[in-house]
Symmetry: C3
Subunit: 273 residues, 3 copies
């Protein structure tokens, strides 16, 4: 299944608009090029809408957001909705500051997201909200482990139903749910948390997969999550003893560049919950 999603990216070279933080923006651009997509970045209110219109998808990442870029995110998100482009939200740091939390809520109210990808703490913040009225009635642990898997899957399912977005919770075990179907993914390597940008790159990649696979959005998200995790595993295997996190980052992007459908199909470790 996942082979097709990967090949659709390579064959259609989706153009993805990214309004993203300046810490990992270069990595996001390079992972998009490595997977076969194409990146554009524009974050001024008077530029973002027009650039979105010429793209196929939009990736909104709220790390290092500011008062100038928030209106750009809203305007680009609405324009992408109008154009029928998939929009992904990466709520970096939601819960860590009120600006980030409030911006994530505002984006969710005003923009229709195809997918929301974050770690369990960020997604919990979005789901549980600030007041009781916004709460999702599910028990979400702080980290997805074998012990908390069932509860976390239930949480993702309910939040997906509420938001009508595919929910992607990443961590040691990743969860992907569109309310009807929920996957657990066991690809990846702890080394991915020792470089900046693993999460941001996955969000950019997922936006490209969604753009290239309009008819199978859930499988697109699953393929992107498995691909990123598998590239992390393969990058780690390449490390020699003197090498460390910076070589790992290089190899991670190299692996994405070289990843083909068969390798993804063989290496993907997922199950339906």
């Amino acid at each position: 299944m996942l082979k097709q999603q990967l090949e659709n990216v390579k064959n259609s070279a989706p153009l993805v608009h990214n309004i993203t933080n300046y810490v990992t923006v270069n990595d996001c651009a390079n992972i998009l090029l490595a997977c076969g997509g194409s990146p554009i970045m524009a974050d001024d209110p008077s530029d973002a809408e027009e650039i979105t219109a010429i793209c196929g998808g939009l990736n909104i990442n709220i790390g290092t957001l500011n008062q100038r870029t928030i209106p750009s995110m809203l305007a680009a998100g609405k324009k992408a909705n109008e154009c029928g482009h998939p929009v992904l939200l990466d709520p970096v740091g939601a819960g860590a500051s009120s600006l980030r939390t409030q911006t994530a809520f505002q984006l969710m109210e005003e923009v229709r997201f195809a997918a929301i990808r974050g770690n369990s703490s960020e997604i919990k913040t979005l789901a549980l909200g600030e007041g009781t009225t916004k709460g999702v009635d599910a028990d979400m642990a702080d980290a997805v482990t074998e012990d908390t898997l069932a509860g976390s899957a239930d949480f993702a399912r309910k939040f997906a139903a509420k938001t009508e977005a595919i929910i992607v919770i990443t961590g040691a075990i990743d969860i992907i749910s569109d309310a009807n179907t929920t996957f657990a993914v066991r690809n990846g390597h702890p080394m991915m948390s020792r470089i900046t940008g693993s999460g941001c790159m996955l969000s950019a990649l997922t936006a490209a997969y969604l753009t290239a696979n309009p008819d199978t959005p859930l499988q697109a998200c699953l393929a992107a999550v498995c691909a990123m995790g598998l590239c992390g595993e393969r990058a780690f295997e390449r490390l020699s003893s003197r090498e460390g996190s910076a070589s790992f980052r290089t190899y991670l992007i190299d692996e994405m560049f070289n990843l083909d459908g068969e390798t993804l199909e063989r290496g993907a470790k997922y199950e339906i919950l």
Copy 2:
């Protein structure tokens, strides 16, 4: 010939002010250091002019431009003109949004550029303008190939005459013209389009070459374009089968660091049209 231009960079260590996008800014800084130059970045209106004054050249790149940085580009550009420093324009995304197109036009009206470097689509946008009055009467194809080379060279020549800037159109074949003399360059490798920043790095590099070679600006542009393309070829040769685009990016900058005048002279593939 090109050997001298390269050595002038290494010997004079030109300090180049870059007002550039945040996607590839780190790559631009590193390629400038690799070639023997020195980078400074400052993009606040109250900082840009003063920083330009202490540099030798200025590189203006309109990717991820915003309402704060546009006045900085204009102020720094005018100050560099006053100081007699070469200024290069990289019109990233001109034609893709009206903000970018309009900003590029405004820059061209208010600042005197030593060189303008872009892909054929960006340069076409600048040359053909928005209204008929701004048009350049030449046939510019969408890509420079052997078939369209003569027409593209004619186009570059006329646009160079009109702007009094050296026009550098990069693609599979690169064209460089100062209206009197026009070169075609056949260095480079398709892998360069699989990383972000190849074009931005070339613009930064060209600004350094222009700064270090005030008496031979056309040869400076030719040397920079050949150097970048040659480093791309040499970086590609170093790639092993497991390596991909991220290793290529590393090797590209490594090659620029190690490039000497003899290697450039031997490897440069250019002809006068």
Copy 3:
């Protein structure tokens, strides 16, 4: 001694807030992760204070500062002071423009810094001030060499006494002083000046070391400076003949990832002046 400081970083995983320039921000995030710390970046006035509050330390770097980020630096600095977090100032480009110089002075007036790290020219600008009233009565050479070492150490000592901050002057020889004790460090490699971000990364690293070693701030700074220099030496040793500055950058971060206390202890080259 330095072994303990390094291990305290690895064991406590200090969360460091960075308000830093967009040129080297990715390198700063990756060096923080490599050393065992954790980075957050937030630079909007309405975000910076809250993010600082959840961190353990703050790194303020004035490269590519702008009118939006200056108030963020001031607000975050004051909040960090309130919280008792160590704050480090990297006065990038102080002396090169009045905005940078003035901002550095304003920061020094309104924020209490645990440490100030810069090159000799930047630190001289801060110490000598703009008018005679701000002057420090000491002779500081333009570069710290064996010949100018005694004078530079005296200068650092006096400036440390005046500011009540640990002064870190980096160059071929590094000087670290808290007014009572002054160290000279002879680790490092000239290759570090051929990549962008060596200084910025050291500032981020020093902020992490200060955060993880609240009781031994001077030793924390010494350990960070020795660690960075030692990693530079070890990264250079790994370079093969075809490799250059970009591979060096990768290896530098790799070495920080792999550096352990024993290696630091053995490799550190410092003396008390």
